[in-house]
Symmetry: C2
Subunit: 251 residues, 2 copies
DNA sequence: TCAAAAGTGTTCTTATTACACCCATGG
DNA sequence: CCATGGGTGTAATAAGAACACTTTTGA
C-alpha cells in the first residue's frame, strides 16, 4: 500500500446548484465569498466532503445547512477536476443540483446562509472557481430532465396555475417563441398527473385561474411503465424558411 | 489553510467501462485482478488519477494503456464515493465509458492488458469493488445515449450492413420483441447519415447484404441543429392487452 | 368599460406502427 | 433445390403543430 501513498493527498468537495423559481425567473442560490480565494465573488454553495461521509450525504448537508430543507430533489451531475481548479491543492468537486420551492426557503442562522442570495440564471455571468461551468452543466441537465420527468413541480408551490407551470417550463427550456398555450395545456392535462383543486386564484385583476396540484401517487404508478414528458417549442414566430430538409427534431 | 489539511488525505481513481460489439453481443473489457483487494475477481480497468493529471486525461490514459486506442468516444458518467468502497482509504472513483471497435483492438504488451478479456454484458454478474454498480450505470447511460445520438457507429467496423446495425441496437436497447426490420431501415435511412457504399458482403451463404458507412461530416452538420435518433421497440409480440389507458411512451 | 390574463377545439401535417412476401447466394 | 438472411411498401393510427376568439375579474 506504500506505493499508493502518493495519491492520498487530494481532497474533494461537493458543489450544489440550488434551483428555485420565482417571479417568472429560474433562479440559483449563490454565496458571496467572504474569504480568499475568490473573495468577494459569488460562488456555488459547497464544502469539503468529510472523511466518513458519502457524496450524496455531503450534498444534502450543504443544502440543509443553507436552506433548512431536506427531502428535496437532488441529483449528481458531473465531477470537475481540472488540475489547477483550486489554489489549496488538488481538489476535485462533485456537482449536484437540487430543486426547491422558494416559498419553503427561509434564511438559516448559519453565517454562510447570511451571505446567500437568489440570482436569476440568465444574469449570472461570472462565478468563483469553475463554478460558472458547473452551473451551465447543471442547467443543461435540468433542461433535459424537465423533458423526460415531471420534476417541474418540485420548483412550484403546492398549488399552482397552468400558466405558472407554463412559465416555469419556458424559463427552463427557453424556447425562442414561447410554448403554445393550448398545446401545452392539452399535453399536460392528458398526462393525468394534475389534480384539479376546484379552487381559483383570489385578488388578481383579471379572470382568476384554476389551481392544480401535482398527483405524486399517480406519478409513482407511471414511473413503473415509463412515459414521455416531452414538450416542444411552438414554431409560431419562426421566420418563414424553405422548410428544413430533414427535421429530426431532437427535443 | 491549515484547517483544511484534514481533507487532503483522499485519493481518486477513474474507472472505464469499455464497450465493444462482437458476434451480436455487447461486450465490456474487464481485467482479472492479480492482487488484493479482490484478487482473482474481474474488475473494470482503472487507476489512480495522477496528481497533475486531469480526469479526462486519466481516463484516456487508462484506455490507451489497455487498448492502444485514442480518439475514441469517451464520456464521464458519474462519481461513486461510498465511504468504505475501497480498503486502502477514502477513494472515490469517476466512472467513464468508451465505445471502441473491437476490430481495432489489439492486446497491448503491458502486464495489465494481458489480463484483459471481453465479456458479454448480459453475463457479467459480479465484479470487484462496486464495479457492477458502475457498469450498470454506464450501460444505462449508453441506452439513453444511443437513442439520442448516432453513437452506435463507434462500435461497428467502418463498413457494416443494416442488419448488423440493427443487431447492435437490439443488443443495447434489449427490446423484448426486437426491432421491426422495415421500420428500423426506414428510420435509419431517412436520417441520411449513411453512405451506401455500393458494395456487398462476400462469401456468405445467403443473399449478400449491402455495405454502408457512417457519414461523419453530415452528422457534424446535423449536430448544429439537433435531431432525433430515437428508435422504438416493435410491439409485435405484445400480448393483446386492453390497450393501456395512457401511453406516454418515454422512448 | 377597459385591461389583463384565463380558458377552450379543430384541422392539418407528420411520425409511428403493423404487417408478408420475393430475392440472391452458397452449399 | 433448399436453407438462410436480405430486401422492400402501404395503410391505419397517433401525436404534434398551427391557429383566434370568448370569458371573468378588478380597477
Amino acid at each position: 500500500m506504500n506505493e499508493f501513498n502518493e495519491y492520498f493527498k487530494s481532497a474533494f468537495t461537493v458543489d450544489n446548484v440550488i434551483f428555485g423559481f420565482d417571479e417568472g425567473d429560474l433562479k440559483v442560490l449563490l454565496i458571496k465569498r467572504g474569504e480568499d480565494p475568490h473573495k468577494g465573488k459569488w460562488a456555488l454553495p459547497g464544502y469539503f466532503v468529510y472523511p466518513n461521509e458519502d457524496l450524496d450525504t455531503a450534498a444534502k448537508r450543504v443544502l440543509d445547512e443553507l436552506t433548512g430543507l431536506r427531502n428535496v430533489y437532488l441529483e449528481q451531475v458531473r465531477t470537475f477536476g481540472a488540475v489547477n481548479r483550486h489554489p489549496f491543492g488538488r481538489v476535485i468537486t462533485v456537482a449536484y443540483f437540487s430543486l426547491i420551492k422558494i416559498s419553503d426557503y427561509t434564511i438559516q442562522p448559519s453565517s454562510i446562509a447570511q451571505k446567500a442570495k437568489w440570482h436569476a440564471i440568465a444574469k449570472v455571468k461570472e462565478l468563483a472557481f469553475d463554478h460558472k461551468e458547473i452551473l451551465d452543466a447543471c442547467f443543461n441537465r435540468l433542461k433535459w430532465l424537465v423533458r423526460s420527468r415531471p420534476v417541474g413541480f418540485e420548483l412550484l408551490p403546492p398549488k399552482f396555475t397552468l400558466t405558472e407551470l407554463q412559465h416555469l417550463y419556458e424559463a427552463i427550456l427557453e424556447p425562442e417563441a414561447g410554448l403554445d398555450k393550448r398545446n401545452f395545456r392539452k399535453k399536460i392535462l392528458s398526462m393525468n398527473l394534475l389534480i384539479d383543486l376546484d379552487e381559483t386564484q383570489e385578488g388578481v385583476a383579471h379572470r382568476p385561474a384554476r389551481l392544480y396540484q401535482f398527483d405524486k401517487d399517480k406519478y409513482e404508478e407511471f414511473l413503473a411503465e415509463g412515459f414521455n414528458f416531452e414538450l416542444k417549442e411552438s414554431k409560431k414566430k419562426e421566420k418563414p424558411e424553405h422548410r428544413k430538409k430533414a427535421r429530426h427534431s431532437f427535443p
